[in-house]
């Protein structure tokens, strides 16, 4: 039997093997015929004016359409593609941020800052491709999934009181977008590890090797993002799969020891740095799965102008020295409104290997000072008023003289206008009075209808939905300062709605100030090679200029957290007192009253009063007098009662005194 069966099994095995081989071959053919999963890793370094260095890691995976390979994935993370398929996400962005982007010195007008400067904490927005009434359910499930995926409390965004539906002022606006933030979420390495898990080489090879936790979290600003774009919708017909962009932006302070050694006399010289000095690691070759794997060094317009870099002399520069030779140099396409151009040095990681690791350093020779390009108006937000009953939010916009040139370029005729969109979400316990909206332009109060072109308000509902305010301001171009103020009452919460540290206060999420007339983009020459680099092609996209304001901390009044039992018992006692005494008064009739008086009189001659009167008689040194039966006046009772109370109290005091 055994002998007979064996050949069959063997045949079967061979057969299945062949079939599998065919299947695999067919699968790969199919993939090549359509589109393959791709992965790219890039790092952009940019010196910042205030002696800091910006490092921007950009990893992009593009997954093929789900129909082509079923549920098998080579490069693209399976968890993400399942997420997209399940909740039918069109676009989604999740960011974990620690620290605040310094718009004044780090700039706000380039694509890097307008898409990577995020509010502190967690910000999540998603566009769904589902019918309107399913969106909220999808959002809830999505928050829970992401919460599990990234080890963060994103599930707090589930309740309707925390997320909002921007109508038009949020840039990726459409009807199906949901937006939520958790300003007080603490971001740490436990959120980074699951994020790295989505990379095919994790942090074991390639550029991600640089992600050394201690040096990352020592930085001034740290923002870790996940951006998903999916076009895999059946309705549109075109199915190009999912694009997952993972970016990590950090602002670090390079150790300036090298600079001090070289130029001890020069205080204002920029610190020199190298990859190994800031991250403590070097790149030992690319991640083998990454197609373009490159490092860029960006000198922005202000810096190149300060260095005197032009299109002629950028190869050899007197003011700084690079430790590695760039493979390519890109110049920004000259635009109408600025003379200076950004310069991008590109280094290919592919050339380097374990024995010869890649390490780029920048050594400054002469001090340089420059300014980054700023948003047309610098926005800040603060609270007004004192006390815990009411206050006001003020959003102040201050003109940055830097962009005056843009404005004059934008104004066609004499009356030029600057459009500013404000998107503000307030939690429900900040009860905003929308009728108290005031607008000040150059410190002069102005009629609301003059300045505000469009306003959309969805007032907050207690414990149901947050208040959303979307405003379009039309400001004159020559404006110096503008301010919006709006009053609110501070709500009172139930004790179990307070956070564990209730006296710390509650956060109002950042307002988003966007300038729809301005677009930040960097177009570099030599377009043919740029198509390969997702980072640079992203720079070329026109993205709207927007900035986030500060998170506000609103202290709310707290009840006494230790009191619930006392409050319940005391209040119930008062109610019982009311109920009992009113009923008592009502049901007392004359006959009963007489009986009551008699009973009272009978009680008087009870044992205790008798004893007490005996005692008092003894104290007085007199003989006991028989008590008069029924006392006729109430004053007599009262005086007796008072006497008794005093006596008992005296006894108690004596007792206490004696035993202590």
């Amino acid at each position: 039997m055994v002998l007979l069966q064996r050949p069959h099994i063997l045949l079967l095995l061979i057969g299945t093997h062949q079939f599998l081989q065919c299947w695999i071959a067919f699968g790969s053919v199919n993939e090549e015929g359509q589109k393959q999963a791709e992965f790219s890793e890039e790092l952009l370094l940019k010196p910042l004016p205030d002696h800091k260095l910006l490092a921007h890691f950009h990893f992009q995976s593009s997954g093929p359409p789900s129909t082509s390979n079923g549920c098998h994935h080579h490069l693209f993370p399976k968890a993400i593609s399942q997420l997209v398929q399940k909740f039918r996400i069109k676009e989604m962005e999740l960011s974990f941020t620690k620290g605040r982007w310094n718009y004044e010195s780090w700039g706000g007008f380039d694509p890097l800052s307008s898409s990577n400067a995020k509010p502190p904490g967690v910000e999540l927005w998603a566009v769904f491709d589902v019918p309107q009434h399913h969106i909220d359910a999808s959002w809830k499930n999505l928050t829970h999934t992401l919460s599990g995926l990234f080890c963060a409390s994103i599930n707090f965004l589930e309740s309707t009181a925390t997320y909002s539906t921007p109508e038009w002022s949020f840039p990726p606006a459409s009807g199906n977008v949901r937006y939520g933030t958790l300003p007080c979420e603490a971001v740490c390495t436990e959120n980074l590890t699951p994020w790295l898990k989505l990379l095919p080489c994790r942090d074991k090879a390639g550029i991600a090797l640089l992600l050394d936790r201690p040096s990352l979290y020592r930085g001034f600003y740290h923002s870790q993002q996940l951006h998903l774009t999916s076009t895999g919708s059946s309705s549109e017909g075109i199915d190009s799969g999912i694009i997952l962009e993972q970016t990590l932006t950090v602002v670090l302070q390079p150790n300036s020891e090298m600079a001090i050694e070289v130029h001890a006399s020069e205080k204002h010289i920029q610190p020199s740095w190298s990859l190994s000095s800031i991250f403590g690691k070097q790149v030992s070759g690319r991640c083998v799965l990454a197609k373009p794997s490159s490092v860029y060094l960006l000198l922005d317009r202000g810096l190149s102008a300060a260095n005197g870099l032009t299109s002629e002399n950028f190869w050899s520069n007197p003011s700084f020295e690079l430790s590695a030779n760039p493979d390519r140099i890109f110049l920004e396409e000259s635009s109408s409104h600025s003379k200076s151009l950004s310069i991008l040095y590109m280094f290919q990681v592919e050339k380097y290997c374990e024995s010869e690791p890649f390490d780029i350093g920048l050594m400054w020779k002469v001090p340089v000072a420059w300014l980054c390009q700023q948003t047309p108006l610098h926005a800040s937000r603060f609270l007004m008023g004192s006390g815990n009953e009411r206050a006001a939010i003020a959003i102040s916009l201050k003109s940055t003289q830097f962009t005056e040139g843009f404005m004059s370029a934008n104004s066609k005729d004499g009356s030029c206008e600057l459009r500013v969109d404000v998107f503000q979400v307030v939690p429900w316990y900040v009860k905003v009075y929308f009728h108290s909206l005031r607008v000040f332009v150059d410190q002069q109060p102005r009629a609301v209808s003059d300045i505000i072109e469009k306003i959309h308000v969805s007032p907050s509902k207690d414990k149901m939905s947050p208040g959303v305010m979307e405003v379009v301001l039309k400001l004159p171009c020559r404006v110096n300062t503008a301010a919006l103020t709006i009053e609110f009452d501070k709500g009172f919460l139930r004790i179990d709605e307070y956070l564990p540290d209730a006296n710390q206060g509650f956060d109002i999420p950042s307002a988003i100030i966007s300038f729809p007339n301005f677009h930040a983009s960097m177009v570099f020459l030599e377009d043919d090679s740029l198509n390969k680099s997702p980072l640079l092609s992203k720079f070329q996209e026109k993205c709207p200029v927007m900035s986030y304001t500060e998170v506000l901390l609103v202290p709310l009044t707290t009840p006494d957290f230790s009191m619930p039992y006392n409050v319940i018992t005391i209040t119930c006692t008062v109610f019982a007192l009311y109920f009992g005494s009113v009923l008592n008064v009502l049901q007392r009739s004359v006959a009963e009253e007489e009986r009551f008086l008699k009973a009272k009189a009978a009680k008087k001659t009870g044992r205790l009063p008798l004893l007490l009167s005996k005692l008092s008689a003894k104290l007085r040194g007199r003989r006991l007098e028989p008590l008069h039966s029924p006392p006729s006046s109430s004053s007599f009772i009262n005086s007796k009662l008072v006497l008794k109370v005093i006596l008992v109290a005296g006894l108690a005091v004596g007792w206490q005194y004696f035993f202590s």
Partner: protein, 459 residues
């Protein structure tokens, strides 16, 4: 007694009325209304002027006034008073027109109280006459309770604060008084109108339907009917004309008809003004629903806010039911015991409501303290009146201090403020209990006078 009467006599009623009006106008001209409009004692979520303005703003920007949880009042109030929140006269304080409306409402209420008080006094004298007790009671010493009640209402600091603090309670109070006045003077449509409007504005006056039915059925306050029968048995002549009338259903049915008519009218008006928004259901949910579920936990002079801020979520519904039922439970016993004195019954109901309602304000206290003035003669030997007076003064001084310590300075604690609210509730309980027992004692005294017993039946 003599002195008081002389005082009242020397200062004429109208001087006092003008003085109180002038005082109000002076207060209105203070900058920012002395911040009274944001005091928790004056502006509850239901009566707040700022919320009214917010509701009006929402309505003007084509949103439902109930879209947020800001406005919880009536849509009619919004249409009538809303425009006054933004209309202003050049060079005058911002809310002058609105304040003037409040002042007028107060004066009208006072006049109606006065008329009703005179009515009640006449009825009382008539009943004493028919009991032949005119000599024993010394009617000549009787105070003009109508004038006193009107002056108490007008000069009460609570009323003044509610009026100057731009709350809507003067209007709510006026509706209640209109209802009682209409019922006392047998203007049935007016009574029905007042009752419907008062119920529409603040829900609690709905229970005033019982005193109104008694008022319409057997006329204003008088000693119990049994006394008249006893008296006539003593005299052994049964003079039907001197007996108070038996309960007659005619006016009550008339009242029911008018109440139905007015409520349909009010609902239709509300429906029209909320047509493009959520409709009537939304209105009921965010007015009556808001009152009954105590959603807003901002501090006020009641006790429920702190209770529901502290109580465990699990028991919330239970206690909501218990506290609201507390009001309802007392309706029947009080109605049985005080059925011959419907106006007094109404006073007790109003006092109980203002004590147990979810968002009480001083405007509610002002109403029942004013109504208390009607019964100065009957309640002459009420106990603890000095204690109550001192208690009211003390609480109204301490409560703002504790609020300031807690909210503004952060040095106090919520418990301090809650303690004053507790004391205030206790004071009102004592007032109600003592008031009811004094009135019952008064009836007992009358009976003893008739039967000839010695008159010390009070406990």
């Amino acid at each position: 007694m003599e002195k008081v009467k002389k005082k009242i006599g020397s200062f004429s009623f109208w001087n006092w009325v003008t003085a109180s009006i002038i005082f109000r106008l002076i207060l209105i001209y203070f900058p920012k209304n002395l911040n009274l409009s944001s005091r928790p004692e004056v502006s509850t979520p239901l009566t707040s002027f700022r919320r009214l303005a917010e509701g009006y703003w929402l309505k003007q920007s084509f949103m439902s006034p109930y879209a947020g949880s800001m406005y919880h009042g009536s849509p009619l109030l919004l249409s009538l008073l809303g425009p006054l929140t933004i209309n202003r006269i050049e060079g005058q304080p911002n809310h002058l027109l609105y304040s003037l409306v409040s002042v007028i409402a107060d004066v009208v209420s006072a006049m109606l109280i006065r008329a009703t008080g005179q009515n009640l006094r006449l009825a009382y004298l008539r009943s004493l006459e028919s009991l032949d007790l005119v000599k024993q009671i010394e009617v000549s010493e009787f105070l003009f309770s109508g004038d006193i009640a009107a002056l108490i209402y007008l000069c009460n600091p609570f009323t003044i604060v509610a009026c100057v603090g731009l709350s809507t309670s003067p209007i709510e109070n006026m509706a209640v008084i209109l209802c009682l006045y209409g019922a006392c003077s047998r203007l049935i449509p007016l009574a029905a109108f007042g009752w419907v409007i008062a119920t529409h504005l603040s829900l609690y006056p709905a229970i005033l339907i019982i005193p109104v039915i008694f008022l319409l059925g057997c006329g204003p306050d008088s000693p119990p009917r049994k006394l008249f029968l006893q008296r006539h048995q003593q005299k052994e002549v049964l003079n039907q004309s001197k007996l108070p009338p038996r309960f007659s259903w005619g006016p009550v049915i008339h009242f029911a008809f008018w109440a139905f008519l007015w409520s349909v009218y009010v609902l239709v008006l509300c429906g029209i003004s909320l047509k493009q928004f959520g409709g009537l259901w939304e209105m009921f949910k965010s007015t009556y629903g808001f009152i009954l579920t105590v959603e807003d936990l901002s501090p006020n002079i009641g006790v429920l806010w702190y209770f529901f801020a502290e109580v465990f979520e699990f028991f919330r519904n239970f206690f909501l039911i218990v506290f609201h039922v507390n009001i309802l439970f007392m309706i029947l016993p009080l109605a049985i015991r005080l059925r011959h004195r419907p106006c007094y019954l109404a006073f007790v109901y109003v006092a109980i409501c203002s004590m147990l309602k979810s968002y009480p304000s001083v405007g509610d206290s002002a109403l029942y303290l004013g109504l208390l003035g009607w019964f100065v003669n009957e309640l002459a030997d009420m106990q603890f009146s000095l204690f109550l007076f001192c208690g009211y003064v003390g609480v109204s001084l301490l409560s703002p201090v504790m609020h300031n310590l807690w909210i503004w300075r952060g040095t106090g604690n919520a418990n301090f403020y809650f303690a004053t609210a507790m004391v205030y509730a206790c004071l009102q309980i004592v007032l109600v209990v003592e008031g009811v027992s004094a009135m019952l004692n008064h009836d007992r005294k009358l009976r003893n006078l008739i039967t000839g017993k010695p008159q010390d039946a009070k406990s």
